[in-house]
Amino acid sequence: MALLEISDLNIEVVTGSGVLHAVRGIDLAVNAGETLCIVGESGCGKSLMALSITGLLPPVARCSATRLAFEGHDIQHLSRRELEDLRGKGIGFIFQDPMTGLNPTMTIGRQLMEVHLRHVGRDREAAKTAAVSFLTRVGIANAATRLRQYPHELSGGLRQRVMIAMALMAHPRLIIADEPTTALDVTIQAQVLSLLKSLQREHGIGLVFITHDLGVVAAIADRVAVMYAGEVVETGDARDVLADPRHPYTRALISCVPSTTPSPAGVSVELGTIPGRVPLLHGRIEGCAFAPRCALVRDRCSTETVPARPAGAVEICRCLFAIEKREFFHA
C-alpha cells in the first residue's frame, strides 16, 4: 500500500476571466521512504496539487479526485478538525521562501515548541527538549541559544533549516517540500538537499519534492513525475526518465539545463529553450497539450486523445509517439 495515493485529481481555479483547469487528471503514488520529485515549469499546477493534498487550497480553487488517500484512508471527506490533526502530524510541509515562511514576531524556539504542543504533548519542557534536538538534527549548532533568536537574526540557509525542523517536529510520515531550495544559493542548496535526504532515510519518511531544477532531481529523486499544463506527462524511476526520456517535453527540459562541462575550444554551445508559451488552461485541450510547442509535432497530435502508457523503461508517458519516435530524439 502506497503512503499517498492520488488518482484523477482535478483542480479548478475560479478567476475573473473564467474557470481555469489548473490540474487535470493527475495520478500519483508515493511509498514510505521514497522521494518523488515533481518537475515542471511555473504555472503547471505543481504547487496547487501539493496544497490540495491537505486541503490548503485558497478559497477560489476547487478540487476533486476519485481517490486521495493517505495511509490507505481517503482524506477527501475528513472534517476540518481531522484535517487539522493530519496537517503537521501526518503530512508535513516545507515552503519555498525561508524569508517569509517564519513568523517574524516569535522566536524560533516558540514556533518550534508550538508545533510540539499542538501535536505531540502539552508538556512545555518536553517541547523545548524536542525543539533543541530537532534543531541539532537539522545541523544547527548552539541550538539552545538559537531558540531565543528571532527569524530576522538568522541567515536564509539557517531559516530553511529551521523550517525543515518545524516540519519534522510532529514526526510526519510524509513531507511535501515545495521548492525548498529555490531561494537558497547553490552551496547552501546542496547542504539542505543532503540534509533532507539523510533525515528522510533516518526516519523512513516519504518525500514529495517539488522543483523546476533537474539537477536537484538527479541528486535526490527515486521517482520523478514531469508535469506540463496540469497533467503528468511522464512518470518513472528517476534514472530511467533522466537517462532516456520518452516525452518530447522532458527531453526539451533536459536540453534547457546548462552544462558545466566546457565545450570544445571556439565552439559555443547554445543553451536549449522551449519556444512558445504554456497553453491557457481555460477550456478543454484537444489532443496533446504540448503539441503547439513540440519540435516533433504531427497532425494527429492536436486531434487524438493521448493515452498514458508505458514506454521503454519509463512507467508512464503521455505521447502518441513515445515508442516510435525514439530515433528522432537521437538524430
Binding site: L56, E84, N103, P104, T145, S155, R161, A190, S194, L195
Partner: protein
C-alpha cells in the same frame, strides 16, 4: 556533493539585539508628555495642593502666580474659589480615563470586525464595509450630542458612545492587514502545520499587526480626548462638580473677557496632551516604518 559535506551550519549565533531605530524628538517629547499626564492622574491626591471641590467665595477669581497671584493658588481660583491647579490635576484623570477606556472598547470592536472582514472576505466583508460606510456617514459630534441627550451622561456611557464612533480606523487598518497577512507564507505554513484559525489569528496574525494598530490607538485616543472635552464643554459630558478640562472651560466661559486665563489654562492642558499623544503616535509610526525595512 560528497558524503563529507558538513551538515552543520557553523556560523555563530549573533545575540546582538537589534537596537531601536532612530525616531526623532517627537517620540520622546510626546512620550514624556503622555507619561507626565499619566503620573499626574495616578498621583493626583498627593500632587494637588487643595481639594478640587473645596469652594471659598472669599477667594474667588484669584489670578495665577505669573499674573500677580500668590503661591497658595499657583494657577489661581475659579468663580467658586476652587483651586485651578488642583482641578487641572484631577481633570487629567477624566481625560485619560476617557482616552484609554474609549480606545480599549473601540479597538476590540474595530479589530474584531476588521479581522472577520479581512479573513472571511465575501459576504462578511461586504457587510462589514457596509457598517463602516454607515458609521462614516454619521457626523460624530451631532450623533454623540443626540445620544448623550437621550441616554444621560456618565463617564462609562461617555466612553461607550465615543467608542461607538471611533472604531472605523481600527477596522480599516486591521482589515487591510488581515487581507495581506492571510496570504503570508508563515500563515500558510502555520495552517500546514495543523494550527486552527483561532490559533493563527491570535498567535500569527495579531502580533504582526500591533505596530500599525498602536499608532491608530494613539491617534484615536487624542481624538477621544478632544471629543470628551468638547462634549463636556457643551454640558453633555462629565457632570459638575467633577473636574474635567472641557468642563473647566465651560464653567469659565462667562468670564472669558475679563479673566481669559481661566479658559486658557485648561485649554492649554488639552492642547498639550493631545499634541503630546499625536507626536507620540507619529514617532511610533516612524519607528515602525524604519523597522519594517529589515
Amino acid at each position: 556533493m560528497t558524503a563529507s559535506t558538513p551538515l552543520v551550519a557553523d556560523d555563530q549565533p549573533s545575540l546582538s539585539r537589534s537596537r531601536l531605530p532612530t525616531a526623532g524628538p517627537g517620540l520622546w517629547v510626546g512620550g514624556a508628555i503622555l507619561l507626565l499626564t499619566v503620573l499626574l492622574a495616578i498621583f493626583a491626591p498627593l500632587l494637588a495642593p487643595h481639594s478640587p471641590y473645596a469652594q471659598s467665595l472669599a477667594e474667588r477669581l484669584i489670578k495665577p502666580v505669573f499674573m500677580g497671584g500668590t503661591w497658595d493658588h499657583p494657577l489661581g481660583t475659579d468663580h467658586l474659589g476652587r483651586d485651578v491647579l488642583s482641578r487641572l490635576i484631577y481633570g487629567s484623570r477624566m481625560s485619560l480615563a476617557v482616552g484609554f477606556g474609549t480606545i480599549l472598547i473601540s479597538a476590540v470592536l474595530g479589530i474584531g470586525l476588521g479581522l472577520a472582514a479581512g479573513f472571511r472576505g465575501g459576504r462578511t466583508d461586504a457587510f462589514v464595509v457596509f457598517l463602516l460606510t454607515v458609521r462614516l456617514s454619521l457626523p460624530i459630534m451631532l450623533a454623540a450630542i443626540a445620544l448623550n441627550g437621550l441616554l444621560g451622561n456618565s463617564l462609562g456611557l461617555m466612553m461607550l458612545i465615543l467608542a461607538f464612533f471611533l472604531w472605523d480606523q481600527f477596522l480599516v487598518v486591521s482589515r487591510a492587514l488581515a487581507m495581506r497577512l492571510k496570504n503570508a507564507e508563515f500563515v500558510l505554513a502555520a495552517r500546514a502545520a495543523g494550527f486552527s484559525d483561532f490559533h493563527i489569528i491570535v498567535r500569527e496574525v495579531l502580533p504582526n499587526m500591533t505596530g500599525p494598530l498602536v499608532i491608530v490607538a494613539t491617534l484615536e485616543m487624542a481624538h477621544a480626548i478632544m471629543l470628551e472635552s468638547a462634549l463636556s464643554f457643551l454640558g453633555l459630558g462629565i457632570r459638575p462638580p467633577a473636574a474635567s478640562w472641557g468642563l473647566m472651560i465651560a464653567e469659565a466661559k462667562d468670564f472669558v473677557y475679563f479673566e481669559a486665563w481661566l479658559v486658557n489654562i485648561p485649554g492649554f492642558a488639552i492642547f498639550t496632551l493631545v499634541a503630546g499623544i499625536t507626536l507620540f503616535g507619529e514617532g511610533l509610526r516612524t519607528v515602525f516604518e524604519n523597522a519594517g525595512g529589515r
